[in-house]
Structures are given as structure tokens and as C-alpha cells.
């Protein structure tokens, strides 16, 4: 199927507007762009589904990291010993639960690997 670069550009422009919540139809030129309009119907459905996909967080995030790390082992005793107090300090200072969780988990998993 031959597709003009103009169509690809027009679609890209429409997608940018769709993603930023603007009216994408304004990005289409006066000339008939039924090819792009048809694809934008699909794009809208796709975006609806994509925006409902849950992020990786909470127990799932913890579970995944735990499974990945527990599948291996490493002789990084020194790294573990050094990292654990830093992770604790980071948690106290950062106050950001997600980052603190990551730091805590890194230290914990390295403990497991010992």
C-alpha cells in the first residue's frame, strides 16, 4: 500500500493533538483526508484503552521486583552492607514514598542475595 508522506505527517499531527486533548480535526487540511480520519477513529479507541491500563504500583511493583531479584543471587555483600544505611537515610530525607520504597527494596533484595 502506497502511503504519502503527507498522510503520515497529517496523522502524526492529529495524534499529537489527540494526546494533548486538543481537537485533532483542526489539524487536517481542507482537502479530503478520509484515510486519516478513519485511522483516528481507531486511535481514539486505542487511547481510551491505553489510559485505563493500570500502572505498575503497590503490591504488584513490589512483587515483580521481589520475583526478579529472588530468582538470582549475588555475592555483593559489600554493596549490600553499604547500600542499606544509605537507603534508610534516603527514605528519611526524601519523604517520597515511591522512591523510598525502591531504595528500601534494593537494599532488602541485596540482603537476600547474600
Amino acid at each position: 500500500v502506497l502511503v504519502s508522506a503527507e498522510s503520515e505527517l497529517a496523522l502524526d499531527e492529529c495524534l499529537d493533538r489527540l494526546l494533548s486533548g486538543e481537537d485533532w480535526s483542526h489539524a487536517l487540511p481542507e482537502a479530503d483526508r478520509s484515510d486519516v480520519r478513519g485511522l483516528m477513529d481507531v486511535a481514539q479507541k486505542l487511547l481510551t484503552i491505553a489510559r485505563q491500563a493500570p500502572p505498575l504500583e503497590g503490591h504488584r511493583r513490589e512483587g515483580l521486583w521481589g520475583r526478579v531479584a529472588a530468582a538470582g543471587r549475588g555475592p555483593e555483600k559489600l554493596a549490600t552492607a553499604l547500600l542499606a544505611p544509605w537507603a534508610m537515610l534516603f527514605r528519611l530525607l526524601a519523604g517520597n514514598e515511591t522512591q523510598a520504597f525502591e531504595a528500601r527494596e534494593r537494599a532488602r533484595i541485596r540482603d537476600v542475595w547474600r
Binding site: L19, I49, G72, P75, E76, A79
Partner: protein, 189 residues
């Protein structure tokens, strides 16, 4: 089962006498890879599997495979493109396994986390779209994922995949055309 073992807690170790330019990647490299890509890997797996538990299984398998194949990474472009390719392979394996086991009840029970969350779309629409996504090529799936799930502009998608921006625009056009065709076929059935 592969073991995640690094000889030293350093990013890379070179063994000159064996073969020059061969890098043995260690745990630090792996942890960095995990931290920079786990969210994308999980959501990409979710796009393909439609089941959060299955997506988690796939993501865990992805990193085991990534660890085993870490020395082949250079040949495969950017880290994101590499792990997304592995994710696709793992997801296809998992879907194949499920089909073979004919565990359809379990799939039906867990498969659709979006059905209660996307009231604008019918269950048939959601099923058809996910089915169509699975039929896309590897690069089309990656572009669709990064463009719609990560909501990146095409220039960033190109950067993440190590591709030319014009090529990404062409791939996204072809991907949406293919999706549209597949959805029309699905409606006609």
C-alpha cells in the same frame, strides 16, 4: 534457572585474554536496566496479555531472559527496544502455552482488566482491539505502545527505539491501518 551473579559490583568487566571487546555485564547494569524499564515492560505486557497477573508473570520472565542474554544486548539497539522485544516473545510464549492448555476459563476470568474501566467502549470493541494488537508486527506493537500507552511524541519514540523519526511515522501509519483493517474484519465475522 539463571543466576544473577556478578564477579564484582561494577558495571562491566573486560576479559582481555579471552576475547577483546566482550563485556560481561553485572548486577549494577541489570538493576539499572530493571529500574529504567520495568514500568514499560509491565504495561507493554499488559497491552498484550490484558491480565495484570499474567503481565507480571511475563515481566518477571522478561528480566530472567534479559539477564541470560545480557551479553547480546549491544546487537539489539536501545535498552527499551531490546526489553520490549523480549517482552513480546515472552507474551507470545505465554499466550501459546495458554492456548495449548486450553485454559480458556482462566483466561476469561482474568483477561480483561479494562472492561469495567472503559465504559465508552463495548466489551467486543476492547476484545477486538486487543486481538488486533496481538496481530501487529514487533515494531508496530512497540510504536503503538510508546505512542499511546506512554504518550510519547514520535521523535521520542524514535529515540527510544533507535529509529529514524520518519520511519516511526511510517510505522505508526501502517500500524493503525492494519488495526483498522483487522477491526473491520472482526466486525464482519
Amino acid at each position: 534457572m539463571a543466576t544473577l551473579v556478578a564477579e564484582r559490583p561494577v558495571r562491566t568487566i573486560r576479559f582481555q585474554p579471552v576475547a577483546p571487546n566482550i563485556e560481561i555485564r553485572g548486577n549494577e547494569w541489570f538493576v539499572d536496566l530493571y529500574e529504567s524499564t520495568c514500568e514499560s515492560v509491565y504495561r507493554f505486557a499488559l497491552m498484550l496479555m490484558r491480565d495484570p497477573s499474567a503481565a507480571e508473570d511475563v515481566a518477571a520472565e522478561v528480566y530472567l531472559r534479559a539477564w541470560r542474554a545480557r551479553d547480546r544486548f549491544e546487537e539489539r539497539g536501545t535498552p527499551v527496544a531490546w526489553v520490549l522485544s523480549i517482552t513480546r516473545n515472552c507474551a507470545l510464549d505465554e499466550l501459546r502455552k495458554r492456548r495449548q492448555e486450553r485454559n480458556l476459563e482462566a483466561i476469561a476470568e482474568h483477561e480483561d482488566p479494562t472492561q469495567h474501566l472503559a465504559p465508552e467502549l463495548s466489551e467486543n470493541d476492547v476484545t477486538a482491539i486487543h486481538g488486533a494488537i496481538r496481530c501487529l508486527t514487533r515494531e508496530q506493537q512497540q510504536v503503538i505502545f510508546l505512542r499511546f500507552y506512554e504518550e510519547l511524541p514520535h521523535e521520542s519514540v524514535a529515540l527510544k527505539l533507535g529509529r529514524n523519526p520518519n520511519a516511526v511515522r511510517a510505522i505508526q501509519f501502517r500500524a493503525l491501518s492494519r488495526l483498522r483493517k483487522l477491526l473491520e474484519e472482526s466486525r464482519a465475522r
